[in-house]
Symmetry: C2
Subunit: 325 residues, 2 copies
């Protein structure tokens, strides 16, 4: 058995956290041969509820779960940690402008970046789930100058998985038959789910669905899926967000399948003309705990325009929090 690794989860008593921690302890994220120590971080007013989550974790008798550490202090929560999943964030409340949302969260994520810089393992792998995820990632990374910026990523895997599911349903295939989906840009309504390179059963999906279906149905369905789930459940997506977070880390650490790729929001290196340093979702392959952007994809004029639009939104967001970088 390998030595245990530490996984820090912020907002661990929230709905996504509750859907996430049990699956990590069961070995679904890092493999069934990898013992874990969970370091669960919460705000002070959620510590009692977090205690209840820890009791339930204990009650599951997970053989891989070696310890659970609870804290409202980032210095403890991030101590020597190998993986961090930053789930907790301030949600947008009624009457709040997007700018307020961004600046309020900027404060949280700059503090967490500093704590990671000071306390975490030097090769920590960070996934930001809390919104606005891309810009929160940028802030956290900027505040952790001693950590490789490539190790700070944001989640667009839920969008990626949703897009795969829509294609599977439309083409009457299993989701396992769908490969090479791409989400470009920001995890927001400007994201661009791109089926140009997507395959179903190894064949181009663009031969199976029309461009007008993609534009008028597929793209808005993926972009607005979160709201549709709130309408049905009366609560926002928690289990599917947690699942996507597990998928993101699993792919990153254990690798992607041969011939396929996944979508991750990562620091742009200028590929496809995207402003370097922006946290932008690209198609990536993963191996040996690192990722590489898929190169050489043909980009149509339509795609180009969509990719620029979501890039522009990220540039605007960066502008709003420039003082924190």
């Amino acid at each position: 058995m390998k030595p245990p690794v530490s996984v820090t989860i912020t907002g661990a008593a929230g709905n996504i956290g509750y859907a996430l921690v049990f699956r990590i302890a069961a070995g679904q994220m890092l493999g069934e041969d990898q013992p874990v120590i969970l370091r669960l971080l919460e705000v002070p007013q959620a510590m009692t509820a977090l205690g209840g989550v820890a009791m339930e974790l204990e009650d599951c008798a997970f053989p891989l779960l070696h310890d659970v550490v609870l804290s409202d202090d980032p210095a403890i929560g991030f101590r020597d940690t190998n993986y961090a999943m930053l789930v907790g964030a301030k949600p947008r409340t009624k009457g709040m402008e997007r700018k307020d949302l961004i600046t309020e969260n900027a404060r949280i994520f700059s503090a967490q970046g500093k704590a990671i810089n000071e306390h975490a393992a030097r090769d920590i792998h960070v996934l930001v789930v809390g919104n606005p995820a891309n810009t929160n990632t940028l802030i956290a990374s900027a505040n952790a100058p001693d950590i490789n910026p490539a190790n700070f990523t944001a989640m667009t895997r839920l969008d990626h998985n949703r897009a795969m599911a829509q294609i599977a349903a439309k083409t009457n295939h299993l989701v396992a038959d769908v490969t090479r989906m791409t989400i470009w840009g920001n995890h927001s309504s400007t994201q661009y789910p791109d089926i140009s390179h997507c395959l179903v059963d190894g064949k181009p999906v663009t031969d199976m669905v029309s461009m007008s279906w993609a534009i008028d149905h597929f793209t808005p369905t993926v972009q607005r899926r979160g709201a549709a789930i709130i309408d049905a459940r009366g609560a926002s997506s928690a289990a599917s967000a947690a699942d996507a977070a597990i998928d993101h880390m699993h792919s990153w650490i254990l690798g992607t399948d041969e011939g396929d790729w996944v979508s991750m929001a990562i620091p742009s290196d200028g590929s496809y003309g995207i402003e370097p340093g922006l946290i932008y979702s690209f198609p990536v392959t993963c191996k040996d705990r690192s990722y590489e952007i898929v190169q050489g994809l043909e980009i149509s004029d339509y795609s180009q325009e969509k990719m620029r639009k979501t890039e522009q939104e990220l540039l605007d967001e960066r502008e709003m929090i420039a003082d924190l970088l």
Copy 2:
């Protein structure tokens, strides 16, 4: 890849259901080589919420999930199903007597037993989670005369896992070091968590902890754990109950570890002098999709008394619903 099997879950939009269905779809219950079709059953007023759960299941793009069927009609929910997890039950409300709780649930579970008898696969494996679980199981089985009664079981695995975790914590060991825990009897406050045969790191735990600790701390902690979690979380245990349900089915279908056993509430065959036919929790080993009661354990006078007391409660419960058997 094996052909898909059907798993029916009742109360699938509830909290335990929400913690359960994603893990089954991810392959944690029946193995990562076993595709599944989920048949989710709910009451009519929960069908909209259930639709939201199904959207999230779709959004996870689980390669093993071949289909999701939603219904409020047991004839559809149990059609040709191979596994059923009966989670939905009427909860005890303020001022309700235990007798009322038992008879109200008896009506639900007799109807489900009839639907299973009429529509399910002949070798269906049934786990009842909804309380009062043991007596609900008895009723469901009695109303499904064409199905082998041995295939109807109730869950005491959460109690079993909780007991293991308490022993691990007390002896400063990992839970993976704890084996041969036993829960006897009813999934209620009369249950008897028995450490007489329990091993830690292969050695008798009775050499490591005192009888007075077991009686005054261990037993009440296990029995009252559910209430302690409600106090902390402000909500009842959902993820740990779902986890125990997965463990129960996983052990039953895929087998128990060599030299270890688990606790399952099953129809008594008279072993240890327990009234035949009662759904009583015993230590069992599992192999080839069936279980066997562990025989020949030495029972102390103290244990005997505890085992009788929980048996008596089950006899009393059976008396209350005798007209439905």
